[in-house]
C-alpha cells in the first residue's frame, strides 16, 4: 500500500519470494481479494517465477493460502512444473546440441 503502513507483524518487510522480491503483505492482500490458487498468485506477483522456480516460496504461499481459506494444504494444487530443472545458459544448450548432432 502506498504510504507503507506497517502492520503489527511487519508483513510488509517479510519477503516470501526472494528471487522476485515479493512480500508477505502482497500475498495476503491478493488472497484477501479472492485469489486462492498458487497459479494465479504466481502470475500476478511473479512469486515462484525466479531463478529458483519457487523452491523456497511455493510452500510458504501454500501455507498462507491454507491458513486464510481454511482449505488443507494437501487439497491445494501446485503450479505446473516447467523445465529446465535448473537454469541453463542458451550457449550451453547450443553446444550440447552441436555435440549430439555431430
Amino acid at each position: 500500500m502506498p504510504g507503507g503502513q506497517a502492520t503489527a507483524g511487519g508483513e510488509d518487510r517479510v519477503v516470501i519470494c526472494r528471487c522476485e522480491d515479493v512480500t508477505l503483505q502482497e500475498i495476503r492482500r491478493l488472497i484477501g481479494e479472492g485469489v486462492h490458487t498458487l497459479d494465479e498468485i504466481k502470475r500476478l506477483t511473479r512469486a515462484g517465477m525466479g531463478l529458483c522456480q519457487g523452491r523456497t516460496c511455493r510452500h510458504l504461499i501454500l501455507q498462507e493460502v491454507s491458513r486464510l481459506t481454511g482449505v488443507p494444504v494437501e487439497e491445494l494444487s501446485l503450479p505446473t512444473f516447467r523445465p529446465p530443472t535448473r537454469p541453463v545458459k542458451l550457449g550451453v544448450i547450443v553446444r550440447a546440441g552441436g555435440e549430439r548432432h555431430g
Binding site: 517465477m49 516447467r82 523445465p83 537454469p87 550457449g91 546440441g97
Partner: protein
C-alpha cells in the same frame, strides 16, 4: 428458477474480459464463464507483444486503435497495479529481396494509415540493437510505438473494471451446452447450473470450435501448439522486440529484465497439447544465439507452451453467427489476439448492443471461408 444474464461470455482470456467490459460499459449485465482462472489459456501463455506493423489494412487498423487504447488503459480502467506497457518498438528483419519488397509494400500501407514506421538499412537496425548479427539481413522496419504488456495484469484490469460496472465472473466453471430454440440462443448450461440468456459470445480461444459445436455450429478454427521460453532477468539492454518471419522467431526483453522468445513451427500437430520439448529449446537456442550472439550468456529459467487458435487465413472470426441468432464470435486470432483485443472487444460489443461499429467488420465474419474471400496476412510468426 435458474438465473439470467444479458449475455454469457464463454472464455476468460483477453477477448472475453475485453468484450465483457465493453458490454458492461454499455449498460448490459454480462456473465463471463471461465473453465479455470482468468488468463489460464492462451492469453496467459502468450508473449504479449503488441505491434502495428501488419500487412493488411484490417490488422493495421485494429492494432493501431488497440495500441491507443492500451496507452490509456490504466486510467480508463482505474487499474492501480499497472499493465507494464513498454513501448520500445518492434524491429522486423528481412532476410531476402522478395521479403524486403513485401516489407516496403507493408510500410506504404502502414504509413497511409498513420503508423509511424521507419525503413532501416542493416546498419540502421544495428543502431537500435547494437549486438544484432547482420549476417543475411537485407533491411529492417521499426515502429517505436509497438511494444510489450503484462498479459495477466491487462486481463485483471479488464475483469475488475467489468465487475465494477455490473458484470459477473464465474471462474472454475465449465460451459457444458448452449441451448438453441427456433434458431435463437436461449441459454447455456454450466457446471454451476443453467443460465437463461439471449446472447452467447464465444471467446474460447483454442476451445472455440468445441464451444461453437455446442450451438450446432461449425467454424474452421483449430488449436496448434507454440512454444516459448523465458530467461533470467538482466539490466535493460534490448529496447525493441526483434522479429524474423523467415525464422519464425521473436525475442523481447520485458520491463522485468527477462527475455521472452518463441519460435513458430508449422509442423506442429493440430491439438491442445501444451507440453514443452527439448527439441524446441535446442532450435530456439541455436537460432537466437546466431541472431543475437550475447544472449548465449543468459540462463533459461522456464519453458512452456500455449495454443494458437488458428483459422485458415490466420485472421480472426469476429461478429455474429449467421445461422443462430444471438451467437457471436471473437475467436481464431491465430497468435495475435492479445494485441487486437481492446479494439475487437469494443467492436463486437458495439455490434451486440445494436450500435454502428467504429470499423466495418463484415469481412471478418465466419461466412468468408465458404465464399473464398480470405484475408491473407503476409506478416505472421
Amino acid at each position: 428458477m435458474g438465473r439470467t444474464a444479458d449475455a454469457v461470455v464463454v472464455g476468460g482470456g483477453i477477448q472475453g474480459v475485453a468484450v465483457a467490459y465493453q458490454l458492461a460499459s454499455r449498460g448490459l449485465k454480462p456473465l463471463l464463464v471461465e473453465q479455470e482462472y482468468l488468463a489460464s489459456g492462451s492469453t496467459g501463455r502468450c508473449a504479449a507483444g503488441v505491434r502495428q506493423q501488419w500487412g493488411t489494412e484490417m490488422n493495421v487498423l485494429l492494432a493501431r486503435a488497440s495500441i491507443k487504447m492500451f496507452e490509456r488503459m490504466e486510467e480508463e480502467l482505474e487499474y492501480p497495479r499497472g499493465i507494464e506497457f513498454k513501448q520500445r518498438g518492434y524491429l522486423i528483419l528481412a532476410y531476402h529481396e522478395r521479403q524486403w519488397d513485401q516489407f516496403l509494400r507493408n510500410v506504404a500501407l502502414q504509413r497511409s494509415l498513420g503508423v509511424p514506421v521507419e525503413v532501416l538499412s542493416p546498419e540502421g537496425a544495428r543502431e537500435i540493437v547494437p549486438y544484432l548479427s547482420l549476417e543475411g539481413v537485407v533491411g529492417a522496419t521499426f515502429c517505436p510505438e509497438d511494444g510489450h504488456i503484462n498479459p495477466f495484469r491487462a486481463v485483471e484490469a479488464y475483469a475488475q473494471a467489468a465487475v465494477r460496472l455490473g458484470a459477473e465472473v464465474w471462474t472454475f466453471t465449465r460451459v457444458t451446452g448452449v441451448r438453441v430454440e427456433g434458431g435463437r440462443v436461449v441459454g447455456v448450461r454450466t457446471s454451476r447450473g443453467d443460465v437463461s440468456t439471449p446472447v452467447v459470445v464465444n471467446t474460447a480461444g483454442p476451445w472455440s470450435d468445441r464451444v461453437a459445436e455446442m450451438a450446432g455450429l461449425h467454424i474452421p478454427t483449430y488449436a496448434q501448439r507454440h512454444q516459448i521460453l523465458v530467461t533470467e532477468p538482466v539490466g535493460p539492454v534490448q529496447g525493441p522486440m526483434v522479429i524474423s518471419f523467415c525464422h519464425g522467431l521473436y525475442c523481447q526483453q520485458t520491463p522485468h529484465g527477462s527475455f521472452i522468445m518463441g519460435l513458430g513451427d508449422p509442423h506442429e500437430p493440430r491439438n491442445l497439447d501444451c507440453g514443452a520439448t527439448w527439441r524446441f529449446l535446442e532450435e530456439m537456442a541455436a537460432i537466437v544465439t546466431k541472431m543475437l550472439p550475447p544472449l548465449a550468456q543468459l540462463r533459461v529459467v522456464r519453458q512452456w507452451a500455449g495454443s494458437y487458435d488458428m483459422t485458415p487465413d490466420a485472421q480472426p472470426i469476429l461478429g455474429p453467427a449467421p445461422e443462430v441468432e444471438g451467437c457471436y464470435y471473437s475467436v481464431g486470432f491465430s497468435g495475435h489476439g492479445f494485441m487486437l483485443a481492446p479494439m475487437t472487444g469494443k467492436l463486437l460489443a458495439q455490434v451486440i448492443a445494436g450500435e454502428e461499429p467504429d470499423l466495418p467488420i463484415g469481412r471478418l465474419g465466419p461466412d468468408r471461408f465458404a465464399r473464398g474471400d480470405l484475408i491473407l496476412e503476409p506478416s505472421v510468426v
